[in-house]
């Protein structure tokens, strides 16, 4: 009977192999290839992120290789699923690093970037992560590069936009009392104090169901612009109650408000004319973004979002670095990444600073009839 079980399992394995033949990712490095690693969440609590990541990278590699590859060699990747959990991220990064990779893209979140930080440092291989927590800088890892604007940048851009473009003279800040919200508040306040603009900051807690008190306070202080720095559920509540209580000043919100999961909770009039600071909007009329959106939509049948744009751009950043390094030696690639400058891609213009931050600007979008529309790209470097 053990034999039967063994046969059963063997049959299943063969069936599994046949089933999987359609999507084997990439062969390991051969003479004419340069191998990079990709760790993203293809299963787990957020598989869509991993799938878009992969689609973005696939499209970029297709274009790069169609144009002659990098250093005359084909750029290929080895992809592993990190399930967006710490343990699996550590495992797959260890696995990727046992292969001959020039550099790695991922894992995506700040927590998993932190978990795998030591591995990359010890292996002396550079990695590009989508983690945005300012605390990643504290790790002081010369092999860590961030391919999305840090949370601190979004806050500064919001404050700058409020003062310079909206002409605000007194700003109300509505923030969530968690890590993200207070982090954003501190950055905004620092910017406003330097600019000498008065402000009122009122906090709420995650899970609050009523913000009437906070909103009435902002109204009675006669603020002429509100910056809302909070999570998905709370920004939806803020939008509804600001509308119901008749507050008609312009609002700038953190990135959550342009996500479909938030917009679906709202009536169009609640957020009509709102501004948001975010990484990427596909409706931009900027030539580079428009081209990318068109190519992506042609290939996959839907418009790209944040993950696709981020990692499509990251692949180009990496290809550029390998080209400039003149070899696929990980140390040379790291040094080239650190010298990245003047590269403009759908996600923004890349210039590496001494802390490994590649992007220093983000997009201001305006919501018109529930569609986030590009207003401008604000770069803090310029």
């Amino acid at each position: 009977m053990k034999k039967h079980l063994a046969i059963l399992l063997a049959v299943m394995m063969v069936a599994a192999m046949l089933g999987a033949c359609g999507d084997t990712a990439a062969a390991p490095a051969t003479d004419g290839e340069i191998l990079i690693g990709l760790s993203c969440a293809l299963t787990g609590n957020f598989p869509l992120a991993g799938q878009r990541t992969r689609e973005g990278v696939d499209l970029a590699l297709e274009e790069i290789n169609a144009g002659g590859g990098v250093l005359g060699k084909k750029l290929v990747y080895t992809i592993e699923d990190d399930q967006n959990t710490q343990t699996t991220a550590v495992n797959v990064v260890t696995k990727i690093l046992t292969q001959d990779v020039a550099a790695v893209i991922g894992p995506h979140t700040s927590g998993n970037a932190m978990a795998t930080n030591e591995l990359y440092k010890n292996a002396q291989v550079a990695f590009l992560t989508g983690g945005t927590s300012p605390k990643l800088e504290e790790a002081g890892n010369p092999y860590m590069f961030r391919c999305r604007p840090a949370d601190t940048i979004n806050g500064q851009v919001a404050a700058k936009f409020a003062i310079e473009k909206l002409g605000a003279t007194k700003i109300g800040i509505s923030f969530n009392n968690n890590d993200f919200g207070t982090g954003g508040r501190d950055v905004i306040i620092a910017y406003l104090e330097e600019a000498g603009v008065p402000y009122v900051a009122v906090g709420h807690n995650a899970g609050d169901k009523d913000l009437t008190g906070q909103i009435m306070q902002l109204k009675s202080e006669n603020v002429d612009c509100i910056i809302s720095w909070t999570d998905d559920a709370e920004v939806a509540l803020t939008a509804r109650q600001l509308y119901e209580l008749g507050v008609e000043v312009p609002v700038i919100a953190s990135a959550g408000v342009v996500m479909d999961q938030v917009l679906n909770l709202l009536e169009p009039e609640y957020v009509e004319g709102w501004y948001s600071v975010t990484d990427f909007v596909s409706t931009s009329n900027d030539q580079i973004t428009a081209d990318f959106t068109k190519k992506f939509t042609d290939k996959y049948g839907y418009a790209p979002e944040l993950y696709a744009a981020t990692y499509y751009s990251a692949t180009y950043v990496l290809a550029d670095a390998i080209e400039r390094a003149g070899s696929d030696d990980p140390q040379a690639v790291r040094d080239a990444l650190a010298a990245t400058e003047g590269l403009t891609l759908p996600e923004g213009s890349y210039k590496c600073d001494d802390k490994g931050n590649l992007l220093h600007g983000c997009v201001i979008a305006q919501i018109l009839d529930k569609v986030p529309t590009m207003v401008e790209y604000v770069d803090l470097n310029s």
């Binding site: 053990k2 079980l5 299943m12 599994a16 999507d23 299963t43 343990t87 930080n117 605390k135």
Partner: protein, 324 residues
């Protein structure tokens, strides 16, 4: 028979020692070390859920507290990891008594409920008490274990230490299962009234079983922290608790050997199936399900006489008139 068993055990041990030495691949080493950590936690869970039959769904919370107390004392106070291990054990005893005392005096599903609640509270506190725990960014830079001046800085070195720990703990667990204690635990699971009628204090024994589980759980947590060098609260979700239950059930409920087999299989199989591409998790689930159906007594029943696998093929034989 006994000699055969001993020889097999010696061969297995030799393989476990020689294999990581000869096979130089960090990925394999870290997986094997994780397997050892999981074995410790599953052996603990076996005492309360496997033997005593009280559903504990708070393994993640128990493990988290063990991991955090070890990681925090080592990073904030700079004490040796050995003190971290010791504190994790103390923490285990404390959880066992503080949580076990009120919840195990009740009957029915209350232990499941209180342990789920406990686990979630632990996770939320660890997430939100940013000053102490570092919030969602976790505890970074957990130091390596120092063994009399020899620093265990790779997962291969950690593996050998953990292998010794697991062998000692497995022997302890095996002795407990086959002692008077173990028999009373099983009796509580099978017929609680009869045990009570014998004049045995059931609540006290349940608390003892639970304390064993929490001590093993916290120790496993500390081992995890020192292995990974970084922990954050998002690891310790209810999913993780369920995963440990699956390890125990697939391996063989109540058996130490079963725990070891279950933990090994559930930890290593998904990684071995990675060559299947995007669908590997589906195949893993199918295989796990087949094991649950065909081996209801767990993997361990492949090696014992209580194997019920045969009945599926027996029935077929009768249908064909016994011609086979």
């Amino acid at each position: 028979m006994k000699i055969v068993k001993r020889v097999l055990l010696a061969v297995l041990l030799a393989v476990l020692i020689v294999f990581p030495m000869s096979y130089d691949n960090a990925y394999v080493h870290i997986l094997l070390s994780q397997t050892l950590v999981n074995i410790v936690i599953v052996m603990g869970l076996n005492f309360i859920t496997g033997l005593t039959g009280q559903m504990n769904l708070g393994t993640a919370g128990i493990m988290a507290l063990g991991a955090y107390i070890a990681a925090l004392t080592s990073t904030r106070l700079g004490t040796s990891p050995w003190i971290g291990f010791l504190l994790a054990i103390v923490m285990g005893v404390a959880i066992g008594w503080v949580l076990g005392y009120p919840s195990l005096r009740l009957k029915g599903v209350y232990l499941s409920l209180t342990t789920i609640g406990f686990s979630e509270i632990v996770r939320l506190v660890l997430t939100n008490w940013v000053e102490l725990t570092g919030g969602t960014m976790g505890v970074q830079g957990v130091p390596h274990i120092n063994l009399f001046g020899y620093v265990l800085d790779t997962s291969r070195k950690v593996y050998y230490l953990y292998l010794v720990v697991v062998i000692l703990l497995a022997f302890t667990a095996w002795r407990i299962v086959h002692s008077k204690w173990g028999r009373v635990f099983k009796a509580i699971r099978d017929n609680v009234e009869a045990v009570e009628a014998c004049g045995i204090d059931i609540a006290k024994l349940k608390i003892q079983a639970f304390t064993l589980a929490t001590v093993f759980g916290c120790l496993g947590g500390a081992m995890y922290a020192y292995l990974m060098g970084y922990i954050n609260p998002t690891t310790f979700t209810t999913d993780l608790s369920a995963n440990y239950l699956i390890m125990m059930m697939l391996g063989g409920i109540g058996s130490v050997v079963g725990n070891i087999l279950g933990a090994t299989m559930i930890t290593l199989l998904p990684e071995m199936l990675r060559f299947l591409g995007t669908n590997y998790w589906l195949y893993f689930s199918i295989i796990a399900l087949l094991f649950a159906i065909f081996l209801p007594n767990g993997l361990v029943s492949l090696f014992t006489k209580e194997n019920r696998l045969g009945m599926f093929w027996m029935a077929k034989k009768e249908k064909t008139g016994g011609r086979r």
